[in-house]
Symmetry: D2
Subunit: 406 residues, 4 copies
């Protein structure tokens, strides 16, 4: 990871897709394959046990695997060779059963699906925090007046609670859609050399069914070696989320400007300082979320551009997709976490919001704030929206991924 990814992506998030995680997930694939094939009588049960017993990343030299992968043109090639060698130490005939009837892409795509599932669990957890924080603000500030601004000019008076509700709604939609696209996109890849599972005879479909169940992945209607649409939809959904988070960060940064001063990110030691100006309190959560929103569209373009893959396995495009993929999820996760932290401790300056209405909007706007005004504009609407979003949040369906590790 470059020094500047390290700056934007928290370490535990980056680790979701690093070599140890992916290699272990590939071993999980190989172990599940062997067990499923044993259950279907394709290989001996003893061979499956021998294989599964050494499918542990910590038993192998990861650096050597990654280095060899460049030369081989695939991470699976040195990994399968290493696995065969290790299995042979314990059970020589079992070595021939390693990776039987499968292909590099089966192991790699499945491993990436497993890693992505963990990323989605973490993203959803961070979003849950952020949604709760935004909903609390929406409820608390339904009647807090604030300038509405269009084309970056003062437009009319609205409710800060309504702004919060508007920020929140797309996040709830993202959580729902991520569940939907993940239920299809987090799919087992198992096609063998050319997508026909030919080597497994008529046992191929049964092996696939067993593996999908064991690994907790969807069973796709067919291998998706070069039909990447469901997978790409999942990546794009992460990009949409980064966009919705970027919208929140844009408004946060604008409202935190010195001349506006309506919001401030929480202060904390070591947070948002400056080497040159000790007085500063920089909006680092907005920074992180804006950076993610700037990067996500290009990653989305990359995975879309990689779709026209040749014949039964792509050359260059599939590999580019794999490399661009993690950034879609690590960026969204970093963004959600940064904003969750910011909004959980957000400094809301209601007095300044009111003052800006009067001073910037002028007399016509100030009228809306008079004591005899029927009500702060949009307060009722804000309450209604917040209630609806509270109901949506309460009925959020269970996710197709397990809870993130504590």
């Amino acid at each position: 990871m470059s020094a500047f990814d390290g700056f934007l992506i928290p370490r535990d998030v980056a680790a979701l897709f690093d070599a140890p995680a992916i290699v272990q997930a590939m071993f999980d694939f190989e172990a599940a394959l062997a067990r499923a094939q044993a259950a279907e009588g394709l290989i001996p049960a003893a061979a499956a046990n021998a294989i599964a017993g050494v499918c542990k990343a910590e038993l192998h030299d990861l650096d050597a695997l990654v280095t060899a992968s460049a030369r081989a043109g695939s991470l699976a090639i040195p990994l399968v060779a290493e696995l065969k060698k290790t299995v042979a130490l314990f059970d020589a005939p079992a070595a021939a059963c390693v990776h039987f009837g499968s292909t590099s892409q089966d192991a790699i795509d499945t491993a990436l699906a497993l890693a992505t599932r963990r990323a989605l669990a973490l993203i959803d957890a961070e979003l849950a925090r952020l949604c709760e924080a935004l909903l609390a603000l929406a409820e608390a500030h339904a009647a807090t007046p604030v300038l509405a601004r269009t084309l970056m000019q003062p437009a009319a008076v609205t409710s800060f609670g309504l702004k919060c509700a508007n920020w929140l709604a797309p996040l709830l939609r993202s959580r729902l859609r991520l569940r939907e696209v993940a239920a299809r996109g987090l799919a087992l890849q198992l096609g063998g050399a050319i997508g026909t599972l030919a080597a497994m005879g008529d046992r191929g479909p049964a092996v696939a069914r067993r593996m999908a169940a064991a690994l907790g992945l969807a069973l796709p209607p067919a291998p998706w070696h070069t039909q990447r649409d469901e997978w790409v939809r999942l990546g794009l959904e992460a990009a949409v989320l980064s966009g919705s988070l970027g919208k929140i960060a844009t408004d946060l940064a604008l409202m935190a400007q010195g001349e506006v001063a309506e919001l401030a990110e929480p202060a904390a030691p070591g947070r948002g300082g400056s080497t040159a100006m000790p007085h500063k309190r920089n909006p680092v959560a907005a920074l992180t979320a804006l950076a993610a929103a700037q990067r996500a569209p290009q990653r989305a373009a990359a995975v879309l551009a990689a779709m026209p893959q040749q014949h039964e396995r792509g050359l260059g495009n599939w590999q580019a997709e794999l490399a661009e993929w993690p950034g879609l999820f690590t960026g969204a996760c970093a963004s959600a976490r940064a904003l969750a932290e910011a909004f959980e401790g957000l400094d809301v300056n209601g007095a300044r919001m009111r003052r800006n209405v009067v001073e910037v909007g002028g007399p016509a706007f100030a009228e809306a704030l008079q004591p005899d005004a029927a009500a702060v504009p949009a307060a009722a609407l804000a309450r209604e929206r917040a209630a609806a979003l509270r109901a949506t949040l309460a009925s959020m369906p269970a996710a197709p991924w397990p809870a993130p590790a504590a």
Copy 2:
């Protein structure tokens, strides 16, 4: 339209989003607004009639409107001014009822949704043709052997029917997903100046309900002036489709190479010639689909990058999104139509497929083609997949858009 868009995008497709179509759709919005407001008692019925009566693009100078839009910063500003002026000629007090309680973005976003609905109808019709053509090929060629190729190298023998089925499956998924995202994304925009519909008092929601029903658009949970996620998902789905079509075009172009010669696009006068080489028969459908697949990712990036819109209406980003949007749909439509034409008249050279297996794959591959071989590899699988896809095609749900004009 630049000369080179004219080259890639058929005229009727480009016309879906040109000034006459968009201006008429904006007038449709204004007429529906007036009628709904009259029904809710917000404006007199006579005013609504006067307004609706002149909401016809052919009554107005489109060129002048577009020219004025640049200076105004919005197409709606001169259009509303023109509409007020025209209404006043017939019913002076009704002029004040024009566009009441609404804002530029309401008219523009709604108009673009209406235009996009027409584009989706056309795309679906072209896809229907292409799906039928591919399914027929999948069924006819289940037992036609062809080289499978991975990383652009010969890999094993597969079935050409299976290749066709694999090309088809993502198109059926796209047709289904487009229905789903369109059902949410093709939504009425109605928020008034700052998204609160304040000027309509408590009649706002009822006006919105009536307008959505009248225009055949979804009623969104809230205005989406700067919450573009559902809309962006619709655009991205078009980009995914262009990617899936691009994959087909990639394979078609590769299989049509002189040295491979397994497929050829249909020959026709004026089709795929060359100014320098009269002997040539260029794959122009593949060309069109590949160009669309090259352009779509960048358009997708553009609409994603435009998501972090400021406050209650964006500056620059919303307008960039509007301008980038049409290309997502015109490109997909041009691509689908070009491939439909190509596959309806596709030249399939089964003998050459067989010869390539033998000559390129060598003896090991040729074995699979011996008369005493159990079966052509993957023929059974191809039949099974084709049958499943036939069933999916037969049960394709009704679309949330009307049939395209004949």
Copy 3:
């Protein structure tokens, strides 16, 4: 052109690349080819005259040409056919001399180079206005204090003149670099069927030299049918310019916010209004420039992504590049013009700049503004920079393109 391109791109700018302009430029290519070949004795002088005499777009049915181009897979194919037909009416044997030894791509790439040259002339003229306006502001406001802001937070006091100088410097660099890359990138394309000019025997290079001189284009070291690097550099330079203009627009939009109120775009009838809020004065120049800056990166990505073109002429990628190309230049031109208009009439509120320093920056910042302060911070630096930029502007080298039509 979609309705929303019409909104962002002025009509005269869009016309630079529309069908009439491109078709005429292709005719210019064909006429220059015939004349050069006559001068080299490859075709009769009378044939050259007959050809050149009908190389006028107004003599031909442009709509029919564009429509036929889609089917043909190239705009050149129907154009050459039409030209041959027309020439034959006057001089039957001359028809065989039309387009002799050339290929579609020669005519199309050269025509696009000619159109791009006109676009560069217009861009440079708009930039000249904007540079002069910015330099005048830099000189006039060297001693006007304004808040410097980093990470969107108040940072220290600087000079508004220095901000203007900083905005200006990249524009002068862009004008210089555009001259450099245009001198190489605006090149004749002449390679014949496969880039070898084989049909012209040993006269090919001489024909190319004559054509380059006649058309005012560079003579490249070799045809660049599928070696697009010099051409792509030119397109990227336009994208860099849009980025530098976007930076100015960003600052302008931020400084024009109601709460900051340091700058305002000029007011004028029909400029920057709102259908919903008559009080508004929207920053439409910033809007136009920001939209261009949002779109340019994706166009740049598109032309870069199109570089890996196959063999001697690309399939799909070349055509995508052609279609994406114009937007790079029309966007930059629209942006430069909009900002030139804004800065020529810019409202600078020096008193508010001073007030923001005091009120937002607080006592520490206010100190810098005391009458007994040595000097307004950075005033000397601002003067020095402005003087250096004035010198650069004065020595701007002549451009490799003719003056734009008045």
Copy 4:
């Protein structure tokens, strides 16, 4: 680094931008700053010595720095704090001289320029190998006939040496342009808090001059904190290179297809195998270069999109640019190295090229290969181009970067 970047980017290339390299380069900046300030009398010479003495990455806990950077919003903040703390252990008053008058962005941008300089040295060295290999092929195969193909269809007969010369020419241009843009773009960043170097009084320019000389970087006309054009041009030039390399890889992959069989990448143990198909020899160099060409356009878009940075230092966009930057150079370097290896050992099958001309092109094409034909088409042209390129290669100017470490 994700597992899949590890697969495409060799370890030594990725290391150019990882945390140890960047942190050391930031320390190099701090040491040079202290020495230059001592030379100009701004800080005591002893302080400079104390500072420079501990500016060594191996003395500090890199992991802790990177972890703290996320919270701080900048890698420079914890690094400067750590440096002050360490200096204070040896020379308490010197701690106050650390980073004097500078700002985070000065250290970070300069460090990235230093890292990029090393990357450019490595890229140029790989390109030198590739250029030599291509030129040797161009010379050796000037008279080897091969099918020219346009729109992926057989077009005419050309010379394989000419194809090699055409592949080579853009690489020589890239090497030249990289020198030019690096001479401006690899610039010192030194502006202090807001780009005015105010804290250094009138010594700022002299300090900058000394630092630029000491670090081997260009002295820019002004700080470029938010004027990124020269820097972005450098990044784009890397993207252009990846595009030109991608074009070579495209042709290589097409010519290595089983049905074409004109070229093959060198065979070696562990190179280009398959887990499922032991007979395969996959074109892994083409794979690497194609993947780089797919990714580069999106990185280019990202750095362009980041250009409109706010005021005196950007929020989110600058940081996104930093994170996207390394990929432009590591991708180009990986691509150049992979192709250098492939072309140094390339398998050229001249007999098959000839056979393809005859069998695919047909009788008309075969004629060109008759013994009594004047000459193999384009052989003379190929020789002429190769000679010109040999001359260009011989006169390649010295690079503005030191030789890469052996």
